[in-house]
């Protein structure tokens, strides 16, 4: 079945220089293996095509049912250099929650 990440996750994002970080947190413990399986570095890099111009890194935080993503070169230079309205990547968390994944598992709402 196809689901949008916002159905099974919450998230927060912020900046460190020109790198954005997105903490993606499963709403229930049984969703964590699903995001761990499907929300891969490659998927996230493709989702942020045109935004994350550099590498994407992923870290697992199973105790918080969470993944932490670093999107390098994603904020137009970052800090006061960036010309973006969202120079600090505050809304990129919501942009990740728009991602659709096609899962074999059955998700009960």
């Amino acid at each position: 079945m196809k689901i949008q990440l916002r159905q099974i996750c919450h998230a927060r994002s912020g900046d460190k220089g020109d790198t954005a970080n997105i903490g993606l947190i499963a709403l229930k413990p049984e969703y964590y293996p699903i995001i761990r399986r499907y929300v891969t570095t490659d998927r996230v890099k493709a989702h942020f095509d045109g935004i994350a111009l550099g590498a994407v890194e992923r870290f697992e935080v199973p105790n918080l049912w969470a993944l932490n993503f670093l999107l390098h070169n994603a904020l137009g230079g970052g800090g006061t250099k960036s010309l973006k309205n969202d120079a600090q990547g505050k809304t990129l968390s919501a942009a990740l929650l728009r991602m659709e994944i096609d899962v074999e598992e059955e998700i009960k709402g």
Binding site: R12, K16, I25, E60, P62, L83, A94, R98
Partner: protein, 453 residues
């Protein structure tokens, strides 16, 4: 030893809710209030202020907040710990002493932490072989050396602990880590050793939870934001710390917002890199060892935290002048709002080219459509209005200034149905870029001064 101490977050950044500190010290019991004022490039702004006036260079909001809370803190023996001293903690101390005298508070002891400002010592350190190469990119320091406008070492909890041991009621620092502000009271009250890494990591993570104020207690909460009660009166987070290193994150009962495992998790994941290596001058904390448990309403227990020995270096935060930017906006109305905004952008870019201006970057966004999510955002078929937002960046102040002159003419010489140019010409603003580097801990040592009212 106290059985527990309650450390209240008073400000999450310079410009935060002005009523929060008074709420924190008056709506329930707390032992400490900690306030973070310094973002990465703030120090450079403060250096500029200090250059114009030797009595400035600290977070001025701290004075209006101190006016509100000093009396009550003195009565209740609540200690204030803040990095609002900026690049001039001594002037900040003088200003607070003045407030104490005005309010008739006698015997107030203020601890001032100095030594983080190394702007005048860069040559000395370079002579001793410290490279200051960019910690993130590896770029050589020589590229920016001439343009450096501030340089500060991040101290940890240690100098604050020193000030508290000397009896300080208020501790004012310059560039101290946000987490050190919260960790220091625990080290002081519980007598933790500097190598009790697990406890240090727990106190450090508590600091990370507190450092953005209301973001841990229901502010900017993404999971179920409609469920957050009474955001208008949001209670900032409080860390209730225990001698064994366990922490309960909570807030005052008579306040809005909420503290849940989810609100705490969102803040834990905010602006971190490798979760197994959260590096501070005090300890390396491992976020993958945290156990959170909702113990009661608005009470989340954090336990199980592990830490590793700190490194032998400190981070240095430098800022340098890096050109100019300006941003102009115009609003286009239905019909064909987006098409008109796009045409106006083309006209503008043609005119900038004709004028022979050179920019490192020109960036166009359509507010209401794609400024947040860029190409990920699906565009609707019809929009009622859209804001064209164009930004430029250049080494040349003149070119950026000239860009500002090209916005308003679009109202009478571009596509129709445009408004919203009330603010006047966009003015160039200076780009202050951030240069992180490392310095051996042995090369710098903080100094603590105690002053008494």
């Amino acid at each position: 030893m106290k059985e527990r101490i309650r450390i209240a977050s008073g400000q999450g950044f310079w410009g935060d809710l002005q009523t929060a500190p008074l709420d924190q010290v008056s709506k329930g019991p707390v032992d400490y209030i900690v306030m973070d004022f310094l973002a990465e490039v703030t120090m450079s702004i403060l250096q500029k202020q200090k250059k114009r006036n030797a009595d400035l260079g600290y977070a001025k909001d701290l004075l209006s907040i101190t006016e509100q809370i000093l009396q009550i803190c003195a009565e209740k023996k609540i200690k204030i710990v803040t990095n609002g001293g900026g690049v001039n903690p001594q002037a900040c101390c003088e200003a607070i002493l003045k407030i104490a005298r005005k309010k008739g508070i006698q015997g107030l002891k203020i601890g001032v932490v100095l030594g983080d400002d190394i702007l005048d010592r860069i040559g000395e350190f370079r002579g001793r072989g410290i490279s200051f190469e960019n910690l993130d990119t590896g770029e050589p320091f020589d590229d920016v050396r001439q343009n450096i406008s501030s340089a500060n070492v991040y101290f940890g909890a240690a100098p604050i602990v020193d000030a508290l041991r000397q009896g300080a009621d208020v501790v004012i620092t310059g560039r101290t880590t946000d987490t050190g502000l919260t960790l220091a009271p625990m080290l002081h009250e519980f007598g933790w050793r500097e190598d009790e890494w697990d406890k240090l990591a727990s106190g450090t993570i508590a600091g990370h939870i507190l450092e953005c104020g209301g973001q841990a207690s229901g502010g900017n909460f993404s999971a179920d934001w409609r469920s957050v009660p009474d955001l208008a009166h949001i209670g900032f987070p409080i860390a209730e710390a225990y001698p064994n290193g366990e922490i309960i994150i909570t807030k005052h009962d008579q306040s809005g917002g909420m503290v849940t495992v989810q609100t705490v998790k969102e803040q834990l994941l905010y602006e971190i890199g490798d979760p197994t290596r959260y590096v501070t001058p005090d300890v390396i904390a491992d976020f993958t060892t945290i156990t959170l448990q909702q113990e009661a309403r608005d009470r989340v227990r954090m336990s199980g935290v592990k830490g590793k020995p700190s490194t032998d270096t400190c981070k240095v935060s430098m800022a340098y002048q890096d050109g100019y930017t300006a941003v102009g906006t115009l609003t286009f109305a239905w019909p064909d709002a987006l098409e008109k905004a796009r045409r106006a952008d083309e006209v503008l870019r043609t005119r900038l080219g004709d004028a022979g201006l050179s920019f490192e970057a020109i960036h166009t966004e359509f507010l209401g459509l794609n400024s947040c999510h860029g190409p990920i955002a699906e565009l609707p078929n019809v929009v009622n209005e859209v804001v064209l937002r164009v930004g430029v960046r250049s080494r040349s102040h003149g070119d950026v200034e000239r860009f500002g002159m090209e916005i308003a003419p679009l109202i009478l010489t571009g596509p129709p149905g445009v408004t919203g140019f009330a603010g006047g010409r966009p003015k160039p603003s200076e780009v202050v870029s951030y240069w992180p580097a490392l310095i051996p801990k042995s090369a710098v040592s903080p100094t603590v001064i105690i002053r008494q009212a």
